[in-house]
Each structure stands twice: as C-alpha cells, then as structure tokens.
Symmetry: none
Subunit: 151 residues, 4 copies
C-alpha cells in the first residue's frame, strides 16, 4: 500500500494551489496520512486563519470516517443519520465539504483537506489534489464508495 | 498596513461603550489585532459573564473568517453552506452577530467583538467601534465584501 | 464590600501602565473581580502574545487561591507543599509572580495580573495597581496574610 | 515590516529540510507568522508523530515570548524564574530548544519551530531556517536580545 510521503504530499499541495490560483481564491491545504496525522500544510497568502484548523480537520475527518466531508454535510443535519457527529472527537469532525480521502484499490491511504472559500471552491481544490494523486497512482474506480451507502 | 495598537483599541472601545450607554445596555467589548490576538477588553458593569468569552471569540471569528459574524448566522443554519462551522476551531467560531472586521483598503487588520445584549444591540455597538476606526483611518468603501457574496 | 467596577479597573490599569512605561517594559495587564472573572485587559504595544493568557490567569489564580502568585512560585517547586498545583484547574493556576489579590479589610475583592517582562518587573507593575487600589480604598494592613503562613 | 508569506515560509522550510538531510535526521518543520498563526508545515518521512504538535508550538512559543525556546529550557527549571511557564496557554508553551523567532530590525515577524531529533539537531535545523531568512532580509545584528537578558 502506498504511503503518503512528504514528496507525494508536496505534489498534491502543488496541484491544489495551482487550482486555487486559477479560481482566484486563497486556501489552506493540508495532507494527512493513513493514520490521520498531518504530513504537510500550506496557508496561501490571505487565507482565513480559521481555515488552518478546518483544513486539517477536514482531512482528518475524511480519513477517520473514510468518506468525503461533503457526504457528512447532509447526514449531519438535524434528523440526519449522523446528526451530532461534529461534536464528537473533541470537535475534530468537520461536516463541511472540502475533505476527501486518498484511495488506492479502494483502501484509504490518506486524505486532503481544503478550506478558505465557498464549499464549492474548497471541493474543487481538494479534487485537484485527489486527481494529482490518481495521476500518480492510477485512476480510482471507487472514489467514494460510502457515498452510495448514504445517498 | 495599520497595526491595531492599544491606543487605537482604547478609542474604539470608548466609542463602543458610549454607544452602549446611549442604548442603555451593558456589554463586553473586545478588540483583536490582525493575528486574532486580544489587544484590549472591557466588561461594563452588570454585563453577562458568558459575554467575556463570546465577545473575544466574536472578534476572533471576524478576523479569522474575514467577515462579520452576523453573516455566519444564516449560513451556519442547518442546510446552510457552513452548517457545522461553529464546532470547528475548538468552539472559537461564534455565529452570533456582534463581531465585525476592521478593514483598511479592504484588508482585515483586526476586529471588534461585542456581546451582552440582543444581537441587534451587539451589532449596533460593534458598528460604533468600526465607525470610530473608519473616522481614524478613512471610510472603507468595501466594509463587508463577503456579505454580498453570501447573500 | 467594594465591587471591582470597570471604572476602578481602568484606574488600576492606568496606574499599572504608567509604571510599566517608567520601567520601559511592555506588559499585559488584567483585572478580575471577586468571582475571578475578567473586568478589563490591556496589551501594551509589543507585549508578548503568551502574556494575554498568563496575565489573566495570574489574576484568576490570585483571587482563586487568595494569595499573590509569587507565593506559589516557591511552594509549587518539587518537594514544595503545593507541587503540581499548576496543572490543576485546566492549567489556569499560574505559579509565576505578577498576580496579586485586591483586598478590602482583609477580604479578597478582586485581583490584578501582569505579564510580559521579568518576574521582578511584573510584580512591580502589579503592585502599582494594588497601590492605586489602596489609594482609592484605604491602606490594607494585611496585604498578603497567606504569605506569613507559607514562609 | 516584512510579512511571512507562503513563499518565504517554503524557502525557509526548504533550507531546514536540506540541513536535516545533511544531519541524517527526520524533522517536522513549521513556520508561523507574526500573530503566531501557522503558515506552512512539513513532516519529513519517518519523523515522530508527536513532533507535529511540538514543532508548531515551538514556533508559536518563539513568537509569543519573543525568544528562542532554548532560552526557556533553563529558566523554566525548578527555581528558575519562569518555572511553571509551560503549563500556561493550554500547554502551548514549549520549553524545548528548536523554536527561534524570525526578526527584522529587532522586531519579531514570525518564527520557525523544529522537532524530531535531539535538541541539538532541532536547534541546528531551526537555525538553518533563520539563516535563510537573514539571507533574504539582511543579517540581524540582535538575533536573540532576550537571551542576554536572561543569562
């Protein structure tokens, strides 16, 4: 199983930063490994300070629940199946889109977390990192297997 | 870029206190700098103890998300784009109106946070501090650029 | 019993700031009331960011243990009677000098907490606030009754 | 005053990583800005997970107390002037060497924090980042003014 090395993390961040620049937004971009532990983080100039925490915890959440955080946005709503999930784990669970697992052969090997703009932009920038990862390690035919379960 | 010195902070607090007195309310008023760090705080006699924390975190939130906290009140609702934002950052993100960034040429250089009464009054008192800041450093033509974006 | 109003707190802070300026140091100065709750805080330009927390918690400690924090510096040492006290109360107990209770007729009615320089300077600046308080409310014949106990 | 941009942070991290490699050690390297907020972090392959927190908090400490964390190692000892300092600020104050302020004309504008090996190596790697900063912005004649004060 591929390990998310610093070298890989830097490449993914570079791809994400490039995407953010083309969108004209300033993001915090973080990469965590299989254990949910931070490998690398960059805060683009002008990005929100609050995003330093959020970007890291989006990535942690994506690894820890093995699904993109955008999937949580709906099921964490009142009456949703996971309502209240975001107050567990000392508040580390983030239910805002922008955290996406990195998968190899279906296994979660790490995640990217992006924060700093609208959720639509955060997801776009996170996906740029995921695509860079897939470019390095082969297209992932089951990017978000849990989503099917929840929707 | 202007730094929020203690001298500036005291003037903004004075303006906010004056406004609070004309409204007949007791507030906690706090000023943070560009990095979200506290510069000065006053608790008016009779103000809520809970407001000590809330006022500081409203100011921190306004700096850290570069928008007034009143903008968060709507988008943090269930089904809102930022639902769940207030459980990030160890609970420092406050989605109650009363935190407003201080801007110079569009750049966030600090914020005021006010708590202790109705949100309407909190916002009025915070705005008095912002107006005092603009009086010192020139009218800000784009006071809340993110608001337009989100509404 | 006198209550530490915002008006009193501002006068004590003014006295402390004046003392700090004569010493050529930048301090964070905080005043808490009888309940250990913050009444006012100022961070002088250039003061340490870490002092924002420390000044508040020195004041809180001085009220909560009814003794100057300098008294704790010795008894919190390994083999001292209160060794380990500074890891209680979620780390709010500070064992560095610079927190001094405000007393009236021997009763603790609030405290001042100062941080930002050497302990010697922090104590000097805190004492300036205490002296201002005594000037307002009469000389306190038993400034630190607990010290006698501990030394 | 220079702002610690992402571009600067990356250059400092690159210099630190290079130094770590020549020493044959794996470090976590972090850069914070003037407000103590994270700008960038990298965890070299094989570095300690505990260092993710420590490296960030060394940098935060160096900014927040305006001195290298190695200066704290001695004065935070029992009977030292700042004994107990490391239980303030919710445990963010780190008294292990490896955090060094970045100064311009004597003013603290950010800091580097390094963790993952012996303190001697951590300091060496942090100094490599500081030297890269000085190369960019001119040699700082007063790198650690507080050290002289405390020793």
């Amino acid at each position: 199983m591929v390990k998310i090395t610093l070298s890989i993390a830097k490449q993914l961040i570079e791809a994400a930063e490039y995407k953010a620049k083309t969108l004209g937004v300033s993001q915090v971009i973080s990469i965590v490994d299989e254990g949910g532990n931070l490998v690398a983080l960059t805060r683009m100039d002008g990005a929100w300070l609050a995003s330093i925490d959020i970007a890291q915890n989006k990535a942690w959440t994506a690894v820890s629940l093995q699904m993109p955080t955008s999937a949580l946005a709906k099921i964490a709503l009142p009456t949703g199946e996971l309502f209240g999930i975001n107050t567990t784990n000392q508040g580390r669970v983030v239910v805002l889109g922008g955290g996406i697992p990195l998968r190899q052969n279906g296994n979660v090997v790490g995640a990217v977390g992006v924060s700093g703009s609208t959720i639509i932009n955060d997801v776009k920038v996170a996906k740029a990192a995921v695509q860079a990862f897939e470019h390095l390690y082969g297209f992932n035919v089951q990017p978000f297997p849990h989503q099917a379960y929840y929707y």
